[in-house]
Subunit: 388 residues, 2 copies
């Protein structure tokens, strides 16, 4: 059975060109980039070229890019690293709808005596910058907000938020795992024009944009003070120790370069397919309703609630037909808790429990979308019949 993969916010297929570029570094060119011999320096060059590719995609200098082992590690490094570098400031501001890789470090900081403000969102998933402005104070060490929500795709107004934090000189971290390689600024960079928008730290992840798993990226504005969290050798300019995952970094660099090369064309097509899926489901299934603001979303994501049904049952029937979707973050799967994102939006519990995220990629085809549209009404009817 062929797979119809609509779970690209969880992870993506490695682009064939990316895998080809990685292979030499998994094969004959296996040296440690920290080794001084020529063979090692060849690996060093590959790592630094990958860093330049990432920097070019973001429109920043390569010295501002730190590779980590995952987006999660990059988020942890940003939050714990800034808080540790500013020991006099014991207040963190974030939102109620962040990924667990931000929320759980925030909760840990609370246990250690920090104060954390979790900004609320409205029914469409938006936060009010005025709430942020009210929360900023002279104890605030960091503001950490996501660029786009992984479950709904709703985009936060980073530009407005950055203007507020910059005006008070408070560092701003943006979790851009779901937007890097998917959104671009008018300047041609992804996900934002970091030359103009005063973001201090920004997280990205290679495997969300057709790169390999095991590589995260943390952008640091020049002068940002950060205490490293993994200590050892001098890798990554002393900000993240450990032998470099050379093949992974090479893959990450090319994945972002490719994403940028094709972004406009790809995501216009992806957005059209997403809308076709969303409109098709909503027109065929009366209980379907879209969660989150349809007007301000990343182009590949739709979150659709099916009232009074269980998401797990829908996913299982879809999976039996080879269709991959999710009920929220893969990272929180297995927990029985309803989505904290949809709950924070005040969405009815009966809709939250039946919410499905479909997330597309540039490899998604119209035929795949039409196949899902053919399948969904029968799946929903079958589950409704079971409940009668």
């Amino acid at each position: 059975m062929s797979v119809i993969y609509l779970d690209n916010n969880a992870t993506t297929r490695i682009a064939p060109e990316v895998l080809q570029a990685m292979l030499p570094w998994l094969g004959e060119r296996y040296a440690n980039p920290s080794s001084v011999h020529h063979f090692g320096q060849q690996a060093r060059h590959a790592v630094e070229t990958a860093r330049e590719q990432v920097a070019a995609a973001m429109g920043v200098r390569e010295r501002q890019i730190v590779f980590t082992g995952s987006g999660t590690e990059a988020n942890n490094l940003a939050i714990r690293g800034v808080l540790a570098a500013r020991p006099g400031k014991r207040h963190l501001i974030t939102t109620a709808v962040e990924h667990d890789s931000v929320l759980r470090p925030a909760q840990q900081l609370e246990r250690e005596g920090c104060r954390v403000t979790y900004l609320r969102v409205d029914a469409l998933g938006h936060l009010d910058p005025a709430d942020l402005e009210d929360s900023l104070n002279d104890q605030t060490a960091l503001v950490s907000i996501m660029h786009a929500n992984n479950e709904t795709g709703v985009i936060f107004p980073v530009e407005k938020i950055a203007a507020l934090t910059a005006a008070k000189g408070i560092p701003l971290h943006v979790d851009a795992v779901q937007t890097t390689g998917k959104l671009r600024d008018a300047s041609g960079h992804s996900p934002l024009n970091l030359a103009d928008v005063p973001v201090d730290l920004l997280t990205a992840s290679a495997h969300k944009s057709h790169g390999p798993k095991g590589v995260g990226i943390l952008y640091l504005r020049r002068g940002t003070r950060l205490r490293p969290q993994v200590l050892g050798g001098h890798q990554e300019r002393d900000l993240r120790a450990g032998t470099e995952n050379v093949a992974g970094m090479v893959g990450a660099g090319l994945a972002l370069e490719l994403a940028m090369r094709h972004l406009d064309a790809d995501f216009a097509r992806v957005a059209a397919l997403r809308d076709r899926l969303e409109d098709g489901i909503c027109s065929r299934i009366s209980i379907a309703r879209v969660n989150g603001d349809r007007a301000a979303r990343i182009p590949n994501t739709t979150n659709i609630g099916f009232e009074a049904l269980q998401a797990e049952a829908i996913l299982m029937l879809l999976s039996n037909h080879g269709v991959c979707a999710s009920s929220g973050s893969a990272c929180s799967s297995g927990s029985l808790e309803p989505s904290h994102v949809l709950t924070a939006m005040g969405i009815d519990r009966r809709v939250v429990h039946g919410a499905i995220r479909f997330s597309l990629s540039r490899f998604t085809t119209e035929a795949e979308i039409d196949r899902v549209l053919d399948l969904m009404p029968g799946i929903i009817e079958r589950l409704q019949a079971l409940q009668r």
Copy 2:
């Protein structure tokens, strides 16, 4: 120019079978193991099979294995994680010759108010278990020692040390990055018989045994209390968040399985080649002297000092002939400090500055060793002539 790679303590070539096993997970089987659909569960199965392979090589249960992003991260997790889980105990014991991924977390703990004892070693690189015994006290949170030194290959008496720590109920962490897959116990497991030797945490790294970079391993004895350091999703039983590097873990599992399958035959051959290299250099070059106890070393490593010469110059000339060696840990390369390991052994500074580590692997051939033996006298003579 073909490469003669004698820097296997820095990193190793991925075994061809290991790369083949990784490829499907870099290609068509790209799902996130945390996804509930069948495609995700296929990836989950791969991760858990890899964990079983690692556990089988170590002779432990798979639930005792945590994958991280590097050996460095595993060492950091062990040290910071145990100290954080035992907040009433503020004393760490380690040695003066550990890898930076142990020493630098120890130094950070000192800055945070912990007391750290750095056990000394003698001229052959040995520590005296009586020194450890004298240092243990009721404030000791953890003892962290390496199994074998990365620069000299000298093996510490983990069994004796473990008896001392276990008698006082103090957790013991062993950095076995340089021994896992290279040494095995009579029980047939690597690097130790963990069923008998009361080690509580043990670090290994896939890329030191012909697996991929980007995967570390932390063994945890049942009941070991550990505070996770990277927080987010529920991966690795809540001990290390972040999307799993599936291909890397698959590679790590097979790499250790292969290492175990061939260990006895491979390392008998490797030890013979190492001795041939060492004896050949010492018989041809009068200023050469071996650093560390030749009788108690891992089979692939020799550290040879060339008095009054600069290691960097020797390495450069070797590299010009395609020979890769090192002057110590790749992780501390680039620093101008002399080796802290050889310095701690009390070795003359003029020898320390001219010390070269050759580290072999099962892929090393006799022809390669003979080529290095042909080259070395001329290289040393040339550098000596420059100094006259």
